[in-house]
């Protein structure tokens, strides 16, 4: 040790040059400072952390790094590409009821849900229509089951998508304004005395202001409030969402305003009650007994509901969640009284503030609280006694009105917003069978009821629906390969996807200024229905009117777009008549077009290849436009060209069927359709011929006008 010390002391110089020493030291300092200030490191941040601070999760979770280093670490991580997507939560987690509500809020910007949506979505095929997501048909129940529900039990539908408009003001002002919208020849209007006192609900077809000859807007139902002095009355009008905007425009132009809360100085106020009321429809013989299960025992035994058509009853019921049955029970008939519960006092449902208060009460007493209380009861499944927070809920029960010759008893229940699910479950548990849009259509077809849920063929909404349907059917048709497509040109079907009523009226009557309309004048219609046919004046016959008819076939059934034709003078009843196969002049053209198109595609592909080998791009030899043009041309060659409906076929066509199927209520094939009024006098013995689209057999059928 002393040796080393001696060695070290031996080499130490005795004197040093200050300048040289400091310059070398300065260089050292500069080099060190440079190195500190410009770190050149090949290691990542997390590799330079001391061992005891490193964590496994910091490779994907930057929050595990010390705060000061977090940003730098994130920047380094971002350099290696975007982060992996967070794992999607598992299906069970996604479907929890609380999350479903969030889902709704996200999705509801485009389509709105009914309040009972979640119940329906689990059991029905849903469809998007008119800005709503609506149940179309049941997943489990078949068409026949739903028909039987209407015929023998009780069918239940949520029709809260109907839009309600409230008009308040002096009675005379309102009636005067609205009278320009309805044609008094089609039946009672808004000002009819029988509806003015608010005991019945009425239905009326509305037109564009003072234009009764062009098509209608649609069928609406209306209800006056049964109290109020003539200076301040309230009217509710329920319209279908398909023509709601059009209806609002007409109301605006009548009552002259331009904002959501419309106000006219004399005091007619229009409010849009869009989300504030719910409406359920029950149809069937047991409808009234299902509804009376909502009442408490005293009301049920004391007075039973009458079936007087259109009659309105206002009742106050308990919260249905308190008295919900434990299991579903089958509906049974109860004695239906003839006495009409006279509800002279105004239902609280008309009062907007009370309605809002009741809606808020729904959220203040949630389901799980009530379920807890029910589970604490001594006897499980009994009704909960009246709770301190409960207030009675006002509802309106509107009986079904006579719409056609078949009367199907039933009622509509109108409730405040927020309570739909509670009442829906109560009605289902009491024996109602749920139905969707398809069942509404089937009720319209079988019995002619629920017309306010269906659109008129001569209204704008009806025409738009027909165009949509045409597009869908055409897409389906052209999706099939050419060999399996029905050749409508050869099989002489002029309108396989959509009926052109204008063409029909032009062929029979000639050009006219207004398009076709359906005859709705009650006097004329009843005149046509009578056995001894009255002779119609020539002025009437030259108008482009269509008359609604029903055709009944003995064997087989008519379909949508079936043709109704006049039998010839010599045709024997029930003889077999066939339409001869027509020539298809377009077949050659189609074949030629196909060959031309395939050669064009090949040449374009060749040119693209040459160009690509030279240039590297495809240039402008893309075949997209050629394909589009060819598609259009071929499609037009497959569809039958327009022809004279009176002369082009073996028997002249007088009308078409709009709904045709096997009618379960009658047990034979039925078609509901329209014919031109001019042809009525030429029908011998109420017998016509019906030919289905894509077939050439004429079936003999009986025709009746409703």
């Amino acid at each position: 040790m002393t040796d080393e010390r001696n060695k070290m002391t031996q080499n130490v110089p005795s004197d040093l040059s200050v300048v040289r020493f400091s310059s070398v030291r300065a260089q050292e300092i500069v080099a060190l400072t440079k190195m500190i200030e410009n770190p050149q490191c090949t290691k990542l941040l997390f590799q330079k952390l001391p061992c005891h601070m490193r964590r496994r999760a910091m490779s994907h979770n930057p929050n595990r790094m010390p705060r000061t280093l977090r940003e730098a670490h994130k920047a380094q991580m971002a350099k290696s590409g975007p982060a992996t997507q967070p794992k999607r939560p598992r299906r069970k987690y996604r479907r929890r009821p609380s999350r479903l509500l969030e889902e709704y809020k996200k999705r509801s910007s485009k389509v709105s849900w009914l309040e009972t949506h979640l119940w329906h979505a689990k059991r029905f095929h849903m469809v998007i229509k008119w800005g709503h997501r609506l149940p179309e048909r049941s997943c489990a129940r078949s068409h026949r089951f739903c028909y039987r529900s209407v015929a023998q039990h009780c069918l239940l539908m949520d029709i809260s998508y109907l839009c309600c408009v409230e008009i308040q003001g002096p009675q005379d002002e309102i009636v005067r304004g609205l009278i320009s919208l309805c044609d008094p020849k089609t039946g009672p209007t808004f000002g009819a005395s029988t509806f003015l006192n608010g005991t019945r609900e009425g239905r009326v077809i509305i037109f564009k202001r003072n234009q009764f000859s062009s098509g209608p807007i649609g069928l609406v139902t209306f209800l006056w409030c049964n109290t109020g002095n003539p200076d301040m009355r309230t009217l509710w009008i329920w319209s279908h969402p398909a023509f709601y905007q059009q209806f609002l425009c007409e109301l605006n132009s009548i009552f002259e305003s331009d904002s959501d809360l419309l106000c006219k100085p004399p005091g007619v106020k229009i409010t849009l009650n869009k989300g504030k009321l719910n409406r359920f429809r029950l149809r069937g013989p047991f409808a009234h007994s299902v509804v009376s299960s909502l009442f408490d025992k005293e009301t049920r035994s004391a007075s039973s509901l009458s079936q007087s058509p259109g009659f309105v009853t206002s009742v106050e019921v308990r919260d249905p969640r308190m008295i919900l049955a434990q299991t579903r029970i089958k509906a049974s008939s109860s004695t239906v009284g003839n006495c009409e519960l006279v509800g002279l006092s105004q239902s609280k449902l008309w009062d907007a503030s009370v309605r809002d208060q009741i809606t808020n009460m729904r959220t203040s007493l949630p389901d799980h609280v009530i379920n807890n209380r029910r589970s604490e009861l001594l006897v499980p499944g009994t009704e909960l006694p009246v709770q301190p927070e409960e207030i009675p809920i006002p509802i309106l029960i509107v009986n079904a009105s006579h719409e056609s010759s078949d009367f199907v008893p039933g009622c509509d229940v109108i409730l405040p917003a927020g309570w739909a699910t509670a009442f829906w479950l109560a009605l289902i548990y009491s024996g109602g069978h749920a139905g969707g849009l398809k069942d509404a259509g089937s009720m319209n077809f079988e019995y002619g009821i629920c017309r306010d849920l269906c659109l008129e063929i001569d209204s704008e909404a009806g025409k738009a629906t027909a165009v949509d349907r045409k597009m869908n059917l055409m897409e389906e048709y052209f999706r099939r390969p050419p060999k399996t497509r029905t050749n409508f040109i050869k099989l002489a079907t002029p309108f396989p996807f959509c009926v052109d009523w204008d063409r029909l009226t032009i062929d029979w009557i000639g050009q006219s200024e207004s398009g076709f309309t359906v005859l709705r004048d009650k006097k004329l219609l009843s005149g046509l229905c009578q056995k001894n046919r009255i002779v119609l004046p020539e002025i009437l016959l030259s108008q482009p009117y269509l008359v609604p008819v029903t055709v009944r076939v003995k064997h087989g059934s008519p379909q949508e777009f079936s043709m109704i034709c006049l039998p010839g003078a010599d045709d024997k009843v029930n003889s077999v008549i066939n339409e001869p196969i027509h020539q298809d002049p377009c077949a050659k053209e189609r074949k030629m077009l196909r060959q031309q198109h395939s050669s064009l595609l090949k040449s374009l592909a060749k040119k693209r290849k040459e160009f690509r080998d030279k240039d590297g791009t495809i240039g402008d030899f893309s075949s997209a436009t050629a394909i589009a043009v060819h598609k259009e041309k071929t499609r037009s060659l497959w569809l039958p060209s327009s022809c004279n409906l009176k002369t082009s076929f073996a028997r002249p066509i007088i009308g078409f069927v709009t709904q045709g199927d096997f009618g379960l209520s009658e047990g034979k094939g039925i078609g509901r359709g329209y014919i031109v009024i001019r042809a009525i006098s030429q029908i011998p013995l109420s017998l016509v011929l019906v030919r289905n689209p894509g077939t050439n057999l004429y079936m003999w059928a009986e025709i009746t006008m409703e």
Binding site: P188, A192, S193, S306, Q307, S308, N338, F407, E666
Partner: protein
């Protein structure tokens, strides 16, 4: 025009007319709508007869009931009463086992609604009566008293 008393309990006008002068309604002003009769509970051996369904089908249905049950109750209202009677008699003729018939007649209250066709009219209902027949057709149960 005779007086019609308004029965305030039922809200239904009951007309008391002399036979010579019956009040007709103006078909232009009103449309007559018949309401369905009250729906009675039907057990499996109740058969309601109507004029629209084929006779053979209804006969077959009665035979079906008789196979499982010991009796069939055939109900017929108004114009379907003769058809119901015919059905019961045919049943007795064509069946293999001897059948006994017991007939009861009754009156059913029906309501007609008058629907106004124009603004001026008002809804009202009239009650009327119709005759109904219930025919009970039952198998004879042979009780052999001498069996030991």
């Amino acid at each position: 025009m005779s007086e019609g008393t308004n029965d305030s309990a039922t809200g239904v006008r009951q007309e008391q007319v002399p036979n010579s002068k019956k009040i007709r309604y103006d078909p232009e002003e009103y449309k007559l709508r018949k309401r369905l009769p009250a729906r009675l509970p039907s057990r499996s051996n109740d058969v309601y007869v109507n004029n629209k369904t084929d006779f053979k089908a209804q006969l077959a249905r009665c035979f079906n009931c008789l196979e499982t049950e010991s009796s069939v109750h055939i109900h017929g209202l108004g114009a379907a009463a003769p058809k119901a009677i015919n059905l019961a008699l045919q049943l007795q003729l064509k069946s293999n086992t001897p059948l006994e018939i017991s007939v009861n007649t009754s009156t059913v209250h029906l309501i007609d609604d008058f629907e106004p066709q124009y603004d001026s009219g008002d809804f009202y209902s009239k009650e009327r009566q119709n005759s109904a027949v219930i025919i009970k057709v039952y198998k004879l149960l042979n009780m052999d008293m001498n069996e030991k």
